[in-house]
């Protein structure tokens, strides 16, 4: 049976259902979003003339779900246009639509009977190849599928997304006992490659992996706080970045998710795990009960563990709950010596270790907290999963922990930690003592042929399966695959004749060394390789732009020649990359701003990750894109105009207006799809969904270009509007200045942008060469660098990290 999901249906249009549907459209999958019919017509409905037959009333829940997800923040859709790929309906009238879908994903209320009844209806209409899944977070898969036909059981499984589905990497896949292996394998592959998720296969046990370990983790910390009398802000200072936890720390996260959700999960879990040795951990605490009774549920009720208010002067004040008095008091920024020391460490592992062995109150907290987490996780092995990576990955991908429990355990030292556990009178799991006795001192280890993990079942290290689709540059570097490197960039052999140019400066800012390596890389590729990928693993930035500090220094010293040479080097490297005889595929992910955006635009092809935030933002520091950004944007925006149209008098004003708006307003895309809408990436490109597999996919793209006889593109001729464009822009920005929406200097910089985009002093409809635009870019850039206000903008950006409007 060949499986392919082209069309899906999401049943249940609550926040989770609607956001899952939105993410499916991000992956290019059309879907139906259905929900129940409202219970009754309200007086308001009647006033509006609605009847029980009106689709507006019958589809209300699904419509509300779609409307909500369209407005959600952070955005659920890559682009709002995706909303048109979702068709809304209801369970009564539209269940027949399910006949043509390849996947039905159920996300209705967590009620076994309701789910069973819905699936009974679904089973009657779906096609025999349709995959059916539930997004339940707590109800056993075997219970939901108890009454299914044998045939449906083969195609049924749990697909548990984490909220918000676009951004949270974890996807738990829970096969039923009778689920076809081919279906499970396909859904794992589909979740990774198409949806961009990180898959953890779980056993069908209560709350699966993420929410089992996660619920324990949260309860554990709260209980220590309660029993050992820590304050909310103290707890968050401890269980925060020093332990590799998200910035929202513990209570910020609970407030975000909602106290009621947490309480519900804990209650279900308590009932469902009668044999869990630490089951009592899931019982509620007195302050939690009171908060629930008061409906202090977190952000959604505007107060939870924290509450934001304003003081007499209108300044925002953060209050926290005093769990003894149940009153809100000002939250502080508690300091602990160990936490301050930890923050100076280079890695999370070192930071965690620093706090773990510290003598202060933070250390005391962390020892008890982490040890209990470690023990609980070890005790779950075999019960909820068979390998330690599943638990580690679930906590990293579903809870944004930088290190999972076993990785954390390795970080503090397994052997040493057992002493700590004994001191705390905690029961050390026998299997861990056994591991140490076997001479295995850590859960993970690296050998010459790869990474290993400790397998509790086999009582020995086992090799971690390497996914050939995941290329990890640091691994290749440690295997001597570096072709060339300097302090700013490396050229790494990623196999099959392809190299990867990796930046590794702070935020991957472009500096002289980087540009030098880019040029050298092109020489090397031309000579010894078949093609190149430009990519890196940085979580935040492909490249945040040029290193403006160097530009400022040169400008302040009046070294115009140096600035000019720098621009020429950047332009030269980008142009050479574009016209290299071997194909270069750029693979941006995260921020690709300014010079980073320009590099990404100068490949033969571009393979952006879905989460790519791209823009030519130079005006923020008072300059214009001069590494070929203006030029390449013009090329992209005008290349689709059919031949002859310009000569026939085609009105270019909207194309040029778009280029001007992008640059003058420093527009940054919120996704790769939006980068296409803005024109930074060609619409004919494909979007990579799995960041893990992006370099691999980019490499395959290089190889496919080679295999089909790659030839560099024909030099572009760009149609411009000449002086008429400047007239147009002058009038528009003059009006904006009039309305005080822009400053005099904004107008000055904008006019430079307009001059470059106009193609210089020429007539409307003139074709100019790429070099002509590059020369205009250079001229404008250098002249702006000499302006005091541009230098002020650069200085302000360097010291404040945000643009100055002067």
């Amino acid at each position: 049976m060949s499986l392919e999901i082209k069309k899906a249906a999401v049943l249940g249009a609550g926040v989770m259902g609607a956001t899952i549907a939105a993410h499916l459209t991000n992956a290019g999958i059309e879907c139906y979003l259905l929900d129940i019919i409202p219970f009754e017509l309200t007086d308001d409905d009647k006033k509006k003339g609605l009847t029980e037959k009106s689709p507006a009333w019958r589809n209300r829940f699904a419509a509300n779900g779609l409307a909500g997800v369209t407005k959600s923040k952070p955005a659920s859709f890559f682009t709002k246009k995706n909303a048109s790929m979702i068709k809304i309906g209801n369970f009564e009238d539209n269940l027949k639509w399910l006949a043509d879908v390849d996947w039905v994903c159920e996300v209705v209320v967590e009620n076994l009977k309701i789910k069973q009844e819905l699936f009974a209806k679904v089973e009657k209409v779906i096609k025999p190849t349709c995959i059916v899944s539930t997004n339940t977070s707590g109800i056993p898969i075997k219970d939901i599928s108890a009454k299914f036909s044998a045939d449906l059981k083969k195609r049924f499984l749990g697909t548990h997304f984490f909220n918000p589905p676009r951004y949270m990497k974890l996807m738990e896949i829970i096969p039923g006992v009778e689920t076809d292996k081919a279906i499970v394998d396909y859904m794992c592959k589909f979740s990774e490659q198409t949806l961009g998720k990180g898959v953890v296969v779980c056993k069908d046990t209560p709350n699966f992996i993420g929410n089992r370990i996660g619920a324990f983790d949260l309860s554990n910390a709260q209980r220590i706080m309660y029993e050992r009398k820590y304050k909310i802000d103290e707890t968050d200072a401890i269980v925060g970045k020093a332990l590799g936890r998200p910035g929202t720390a513990l209570f910020g996260t609970i407030d975000l998710v909602g106290l009621d959700i947490g309480a519900h999960v804990n209650k279900n879990l308590y009932d469902a795990v009668p044999n869990d040795e630490m089951r009592d951990m899931f019982l509620s605490l007195p302050f939690g009960d009171k908060m629930l009774a008061n409906k202090w549920l977190g952000n959604k009720t505007k107060q939870g563990f924290y509450k934001k208010t304003k003081d007499a002067k209108g300044k925002s004040v953060k209050l926290m709950l005093d769990i003894d008095t149940m009153e809100y008091v000002p939250a502080g920024k508690p300091k602990f010596d160990s936490i301050s020391a930890a923050k100076k460490k280079a890695t999370v592992a070192e930071s965690m270790k620093t706090v773990f062995y510290a003598e202060d109150r933070a250390g005391e907290f962390v020892r008890e907290y982490l040890c209990k987490n470690f023990i609980y996780s070890a005790n779950r092995m075999g019960e909820i999963c068979d390998d330690i990576m599943s638990i580690d990955n679930a906590m990293k991908w579903g809870y944004n922990h930088k290190l999972g429990p076993f990785e954390s355990w390795d970080a503090v030292g397994v052997k040493e930690s057992l002493e700590v556990m004994k001191k705390l009178k905690l029961k050390v799991p026998k299997k861990v003592e056994e591991m140490l006795k076997k001479g295995c001192d850590s859960f993970y280890t690296v050998k010459d042929d790869g990474k290993y993990y400790y397998d509790f079942e086999k009582k020995a290290y086992a090799k971690i399966d390497e996914n050939p689709r995941i290329i990890i540059l640091p691994d290749l570097k440690s295997r001597n695959k570096i072709v060339k490197e300097n302090a700013s960039a490396s050229l790494i052999d990623i196999g099959d004749g392809v190299v990867c140019l990796e930046f590794h400066t702070k935020m991957n800012a472009i500096d002289e060394l980087f540009t030098a390596m880019q040029s050298e890389a092109l020489d090397i590729v031309e000579k010894d390789f078949v093609g190149m990928v430009v990519a890196n693993h940085d979580e935040r930035a492909f490249s945040a732009g040029a290193n403006v500090f160097q530009v400022l220094t040169a400008a302040q010293m009046g070294q115009w020649d140096l600035i000019e040479k720098g621009v020429e080097a950047l332009q030269g490297a980008n142009m050479r990359m574009k016209y290299l005889s071997k194909p270069v595929v750029t693979a941006p992910a995260g921020l690709a701003l300014g010079g980073g955006c320009e590099i990404a635009m100068h490949g033969a092809r571009c393979l952006p990750n879905g989460e790519t935030y791209m823009g030519l933002v130079e005006v923020g520091v008072g300059v214009i894109p001069a590494g070929g950004g203006c030029k390449e944007l013009l090329v992209r925006l005008t290349e689709g105009i059919p031949d002859g149209c310009i000569e026939a008098g085609f009105n270019l004003q909207y194309h040029m207006g778009k280029a001007f708006e992008n640059i003058a307003m420093a527009k940054v895309s919120t996704s790769a799809a939006e980068a296409m809408e803005l024109g930074y990436v060609r619409k004919s490109e494909r979007i990579n969904m799995s960041r893990d597999q992006q370099i691999y996919e980019a490499k395959q793209l290089v190889l496919s270009l080679v295999a089909t006889g790659y030839k560099p593109p024909r030099p572009a001729l760009i149609p411009v509007m000449g002086e008429n464009f400047r007239g147009m822009v002058n009038a528009i920005i003059q009006n904006m200045l009039y309305g005080k929406f822009v400053s005099e200097y904004d107008v000055h910089v904008s006019k430079k942008v307009a001059y470059v985009l106009s193609g210089g002093d020429c007539a409307e409809g003139t074709y100019v060469s790429e070099q002509e635009i590059l020369d205009l870019e250079k001229e404008a850039f250098v002249s702006l660098c000499g302006e005091k206000k541009t230098q002020e903008r650069i200085m302000y950006m360097l010291s404040n990290g945000k643009p100055l409007r002067n």
């Binding site: 008429n724 007239g727 005080k740 409307e764």
Partner: protein
């Protein structure tokens, strides 16, 4: 020298931008208004009509290629009937009627149809290919002829202390008056209903269908000053000119039939009124809205009259700021609240279809003067680029 009288004056309903006439071409609804006008005067033999003068502010795209001639032919007039398009921006429709009057008075024509036609849904402000001069100076050494209209309104408000509250009050009042007028059926006589197009999908095929569009669709009622106060200015940071105290961008057409009194008599037609005087004047581009403040006194002086001699005014509410300012300068602000100025609501409520506006206001004024049994009225407006225009109409 002969005289010129108006024997009929009609208009289409004002359709807010992307509203009732969104899918109807301007030439199409223009033709329908012309046909509706001719149907009311069956005594006129089409071949006796000498010319068609059409005001249009952006005579391009579907209103290009000399709209005057196209509408004449489209309405089925014989090929002997000539046609022309005139452009004085927002005063174009009034200019068309004034030009027709002048030609008839000069004895060069006997019967002329004059008015205006504009679609702001299809052709944006500035036209579809605006090309300001690249060397135009915006440093104050040259007038800012390319200035956004909203900015000029902000300038008038700021330079002459027109308060936000006063502007919003006019915004509410304009809508209230229009709402009442429509409810009372006052516009029925002057409106030619349009068979408006809409596109629908039937059985998987996209087809064009028609519906009757017969009522101004821009009125926002109920409205309150409190609600209007919440809106922000799109033109100026912290400004006071908002969507609620500005005119709406509108689609519409309006025409009047003019002839010598002798011809009217011979055809057995009863003249309604005549345009006695018409004046235009230039003002600063940056505060173009003050136009009526200069054009009204100019035309009154020309006629040897004072504002007291005028029974009803239609002063285009391009923006409340300029309408209020103009009334103040002319000394007639109290008469706005007394109901003698824009008695049935103005452009804030029922729209400002640029080149059609003068002809539309003429139709509104003449029918109101008739209802009141009054004698004299003025149509006036400000004009983009910095001008004012005004005309005095006298009932006969």
């Amino acid at each position: 020298m002969s005289d010129a009288v108006i024997v009929e004056s009609v208009r289409s309903p004002g359709a807010r931008r992307r509203g009732g006439l969104a899918n109807t071409r301007a030439d199409e609804f223009g033709i329908q208004v012309l046909k509706g006008l001719l149907a009311r005067v069956p005594q006129v033999k089409p071949e006796e009509i000498d010319d068609l003068i059409v005001g249009c502010s952006f005579p391009e795209c579907e209103t290009g290629m000399n709209l005057g001639r196209i509408l004449a032919m489209g309405a089925g007039l014989p090929i002997s009937v000539a046609g022309m398009t005139v452009n004085r921006f927002c005063a174009s429709g009034l200019q068309a009627i004034a030009d027709a009057t002048a030609k008839i008075r000069a004895g060069w024509s006997e019967i002329i149809i004059a008015g205006g036609c504009e679609t702001m849904t299809h052709i944006p402000m500035g036209g579809s290919a605006m090309r300001p001069h690249p060397d135009w100076k915006f440093d104050g050494s040259m007038p800012d002829v390319y200035i956004n209209m909203g900015n000029t309104a902000e300038n008038v408000a700021a330079n002459y202390n027109i308060s936000r509250e006063d502007m919003d009050k006019m915004g509410v009042e304009s809508n209230r008056r229009a709402f009442e007028a429509i409810k009372a059926g006052k516009f029925k006589e002057e409106i030619i209903p349009i068979q408006a197009a809409k596109y629908v999908k039937k059985n998987g095929k996209r087809i064009r269908e028609y519906f009757t569009f017969d009522t101004d669709d821009g009125v926002r009622w109920p409205a309150t000053v409190e609600n209007m106060a919440k809106l922000k200015s799109p033109f100026k940071a912290g400004g006071n000119v908002t969507a609620a105290n500005s005119s709406q961008m509108t689609d519409g057409a309006a025409f009047s039939l003019l002839m010598t009194p002798e011809k009217a008599k011979a055809l057995g037609l009863k003249p309604i009124a005549k345009l006695t005087h018409h004046a235009v004047i230039g003002v600063k581009s940056e505060e173009m809205g003050v136009g009526p403040a200069y054009a009204i006194p100019k035309v009154l002086k020309m006629a040897g009259l004072t504002a007291k001699d005028i029974d009803v005014f239609e002063i285009n509410e391009a923006f409340a700021s300029q309408a209020i300012y103009s009334c103040r300068v002319v000394g007639i602000e109290d008469r706005y609240w007394a109901g003698d100025i824009n008695p049935n609501g103005g452009a804030i409520a029922i729209g400002h279809p640029l080149g059609c506006t003068g002809a539309k206001l003429t139709a509104q004024l003449l029918h109101e003067l008739k209802r009141r049994g009054a004698k004299r009225g003025i149509v006036s407006m400000c004009v983009g680029g910095g001008m004012g225009a005004a005309a005095i109409f006298e009932m006969v």
